[in-house]
Symmetry: C2
Subunit: 430 residues, 2 copies
Amino acid sequence: QGTRDHAPAQAALRDRLLSAVVSCFKRHGAAAIDTPVLELRETLVGKYGEGTKLIYELQDQGGELLALRYDLTVPFARYLAMNKITKMKRYHVAKVYRRDNPATTRGRYREFYQCDFDIAGQFDPMIPDAECLKIVHEILSDLQLGDFVIKVNDRRILNGVFAVCGVPESKFIPACCTVDKLDKIPWEEVRSEMVGEKGLSPEAADRIGEYVQLHGGLDLIERLLQDPKLSQNKLAKEGLGDMKLLFEYLTLFGITGKISFDLSLARGLDYYTGVIFEAVLLQQEKEHVEELVSVGSVAGGGRYDGLVGMFDPKGRKVPCVGVSIGIERIFSILEQRLEASGEKLRTTETQVLVATPQKHMLAARLKLISELWDAGIKAEMLYKKDPKLLKQLQYCEDTGIPLAAIVGEQELADGVVKLRDVATREEVRM
Amino acid sequence: QGTRDHAPAQAALRDRLLSAVVSCFKRHGAAAIDTPVLELRETLVGKYGEGTKLIYELQDQGGELLALRYDLTVPFARYLAMNKITKMKRYHVAKVYRRDNPATTRGRYREFYQCDFDIAGQFDPMIPDAECLKIVHEILSDLQLGDFVIKVNDRRILNGVFAVCGVPESKFIPACCTVDKLDKIPWEEVRSEMVGEKGLSPEAADRIGEYVQLHGGLDLIERLLQDPKLSQNKLAKEGLGDMKLLFEYLTLFGITGKISFDLSLARGLDYYTGVIFEAVLLQQEKEHVEELVSVGSVAGGGRYDGLVGMFDPKGRKVPCVGVSIGIERIFSILEQRLEASGEKLRTTETQVLVATPQKHMLAARLKLISELWDAGIKAEMLYKKDPKLLKQLQYCEDTGIPLAAIVGEQELADGVVKLRDVATREEVRM
């Protein structure tokens, strides 16, 4: 349940999508790493907020207690700490596992690919953070998925907001998780979850509401820097200062047109400590052509400066920032688009079919195809002793093989091969 | 335990190795598929002989009872049956899981990659089987792993041998598993396991011993076809006839020099029904330079005509033959070889570092690098506001970046960039 096989056409489409993403990661100088699908349970516990209950655990069959990885970020942090690496730019494309309620029509599965790019190391502020946003912008533009917006916020700003609204520090993370639902449910429901389930005072919730419904650009950052209450909060001030710097860098990258500083963005995971962001695709609503509505998140990430330290025996911190591309949702969109277009993706790369018009030609075909393979040419033949020529040509048409290398009695006697262009039916002897 | 992280240098080497294997599979016209790492437990149980106890099971957290896949063959058969596919040539490169005793120095892990190529469908005998052996030959030759031999046998011949030696049919599979150990332990030990643990009569074991210690080529096949007892056994006769045909095709492929018909080859898995094979690397023994000894299996496979039918509600069979490349052992060999050579693999593909000789040039660098990225050029810069030029050039040398695009006050004023060849120190303004 919640998993799927990929048939050849889907595997080919996925390959194409993953190469586009990986080539962007390589363009930004990242190296690949790989980590096991299995992690120690203790590595994963307590890193994912409400997600922890969705971790797949392995049966205790003796030995270590194991679980399937929930994302690629925690294994990356574990890897850095274990190997005492303090500086690294890496990408990782692999499957992760979540015992979630699958919504497979919207591309939500229990086993799914993540494509992560992260920069670890102590650097000057906001330079790596800006690059992560540039990467999201490049990938979403390259894939021509239509209009999108990248929402940006900072955990320090959110925590500052909570503090000045009178929320006790112990409730920052639960409050964050509730705010994060603002893209799916209206403010009234978020408010009542805050007051009810999360135990915030109604006054605090109302004050939070005034902030988290704000979004804008540099102007909003400036305004909040002047906000009498927020500007008194150290964390918020730091966050707003960095946000201003980030917008400066994004202006140099020429991508601020797609960036929205959005105070409702919170992200559910525990480990974020600074900038957070999320890219959503926009679509024209059928009834209101002018209005663009979000059709879901396709990339997200942020800064997590404390995570590596949790795996280091001495608690040594390695600041990190990274982005994860939500390949599954993008895949669903491309799949539907391909289906609608009627275009058929080739699932093989075969260049030539070795064929014969006569019986008793198996030996000749086997000899010829063997020569082709040894010369690095992608070649197939039908696995029949005496196939009909029509069937062989039909196979070329069905699978998109452009050429047929035909060997019959005459060709064998003359020491030649007849090469046929399947589409034009042109033939040359060679 | 028994798993490992791949650091960038290892990931780069693995990438290179996997692409060599995949490009061979594509040369033979295979399409890719992908299946989940998780399978239903019931799908895996009873397919792997003594391996079944090594399956990783997931904890029962509600819902289906799951396990991690043990190989890629059973999931492929499940996929074919589930989708009622009767004909397919596919490859699949992915991780599999076995709770084995890891021997990590010899490249044996609990999580490891398999690279499988399989041909499903009802075809004329031995044509797809011969192609599988051709593929093993191509890959091992391409990778320049040194001398190797591909041992070939047929489960029908083995079963025929057991039958004429007086083994009851119920003991064919256990006997097979024991014979399979002949490459690791001497005949005397195999014999005593047969008589002891497996309950065969000493006479039967001795008779088996006469057959399973034979190996050779076409001559041996001919001799066994004349064997008074074996030639009376229907299964053995079929197997030997097909083996003869296989050698005919392999002769046309020009690869019989590396093929050995070896009656000791049994393969441990339950599901094989016909031809089986295994490739082993040969190495000169230090003391006896003329003698080549096996250093372990690097590929294996065979025919499994009954497996798909086990997953079909009506038991419809789809004949299959396939090969699995043992990428981990090959990886270990290549890794050791690379280490010995002192060669350093680049782990990134960055073409140019955007650098500056002066302070206050961050904005110029960000603008330039953004232009390069947008033009598809692989570019990096140091994440510092004011890095020293020497540090920047040092970074190029450390990571193998061939070019530095230098922008200083003068270049900015002139509207040019200084492009420096890091190795030769040559510079051009452009």
